[in-house]
Amino acid sequence: MSTAGPPQGARPPQGERREATQGAHHTSAPILVASGLHAGYGAGDILKGVDIELPRGTIVTIIGPNGSGKSTLIKTLSGLLPARQGDILLNGKRLNDMGPPKRVRAGLSYVPQEYNVFRNLTVLENLKIAREFMADGRPGSGKGVISDELLALFPQLAGKFKVLAGNLSGGQRQMLAFACALAVTPEVLMLDEPSAGLSPKYMSDIFETVKRVNDSGVSVLMVEQNAIDALSISTSCMVLANGRVRLNGRADEILGMRDLQSLYLGDSRDDEPARA
């Protein structure tokens, strides 16, 4: 994450970009790297040359205004949307030519923002599918019952195994989606707006769960609108605007910025070319 700086020609907003970027430094090798990523729908690109690095064992949060390309980025990494240019590497292995199922089995797990459980299947069937199809001889893989460790992470699901996932509350559905993504211990967990539409109680549960998942050794890449809560558990942060990385730094530093709000909402002046 430390190396992804602002694109050439972009002007640092309020003069704080340099400090934040310099503040972001991690010693561990990146587990997930994307470089020069272009992707989009139809004719135009939504991502216009995005570079990211996810250091092993960290939580990196991507924030930015609506339409900045956050969800597009995470969908491109998951394989649901093809990358038009650039490389995606997991543990040094190129993923570009792999479809979503192969990326999942390589260790890149993804929780979409909505429609993230099979609503017409029971809770247990959702979990079984995750174990049966995401497994590839990695830790926690294989068939059979759900591990006690996993159940301990999600007490909200206790006693609900026979309930249709569509009949769960929003927070319980989100927990089930997390549990499915973790049913076979992934290398990287990618979360798209995990707190979207949830009550404040479930919101704090969600971020607490993300922290505990990370503490267990899983690296986390998270897109989140609720920037304050997300950054409070994150190692580092990336601000995306108009399909480009605008700021990249340590979470506590970005959280401390007085003009976080303007960065988070995007600043049109960023698109102006830098003056000589």
């Binding site: 998951s78 394989g79 649901l80 479809g99 979503p100 199922p101 999942v104 089995r105 797990s109 993804y110 979409p112 429609y115 993230n116 459980v117 099979f118 609503r119 017409n120 299947l121 069937e125 079984k128 599918i129 995750a130 049966e132 199809f133 995401m134 497994a135 068939k143 569509g166 499915c180």
Partner: protein
Amino acid sequence: MFAQIAFNGLVTGVIITLPALAVTLLFGVLKFPNFAIGGMMTVAAYMVFALNAQLGWPLVVAAAIVAVVFGGLSIVIDQLTFKPLRDRGGITLMVASLGLGLILENIARVFYGNAARSFAYELARPFRFLDIRMNREQMIAMIVAVVAMAAMYVLLTRMPIGRAMRAVADNPALALVRGIESPHIIRWTNFIAGVLLAIAGVLVGMDRALEPPVGNNYLVPVFAAAILGGLGSPLGAFAGALIIGLLSELSTLVIAPNYRIGVPLVVIALILVFRPQGLFGQPYIRK
């Protein structure tokens, strides 16, 4: 009289259970109404006829072999006909399936003509139970349909491949990021639908004379059953088929038997107006 008509309706219902289940499975996974199922039933029935009546194989053996072969053939049909059109949307696929159904019916006509034929098996005298007249073909149809439904229930709820089929039907994009390879599931769905259609073709051929339009004649009640139960819902297909069978036969108590073919059409119209998702289906949300 009423009991006899109700029994006949039940038999009609179980016969359309299998193709209705095939329709609902195919629709759930591939998201288009496959009208080729009528022609597929016809071709499968004639394949069984060739082994049974022409080569002298026992009907059960011929039906079992054709069921498996036709499962494979269904995969080939999908790969050649529907796969190249998959990105063009449901309407294109539906029109292609209508054309394919007509082609298959006429392939049977080219080889066997329009004459009505029947399988070669020993006829048995009908028997009476509680004043209801039953014949052996009806009992075979009931037993085969119930066993096939039970097998489908086990497959869809107890086996990984069945759960994966339901998962793809529920949310194809999520299925991909849960590690499910969609092409693999599509092949399995076509295989299972082919097996169901082949068995249904034999039951239909036993219930009525075997002639080229025999499969397509069942299209309306089969689709009425699948729509009534809720397209994509296997349990709904079963319930819808029994209801359509019973309603069609019981309608002859109040209308002339010639008009009972209109009953499934009325059911389709009513269900689309008052409960488009069917009895057991989920409202479809366009994402």
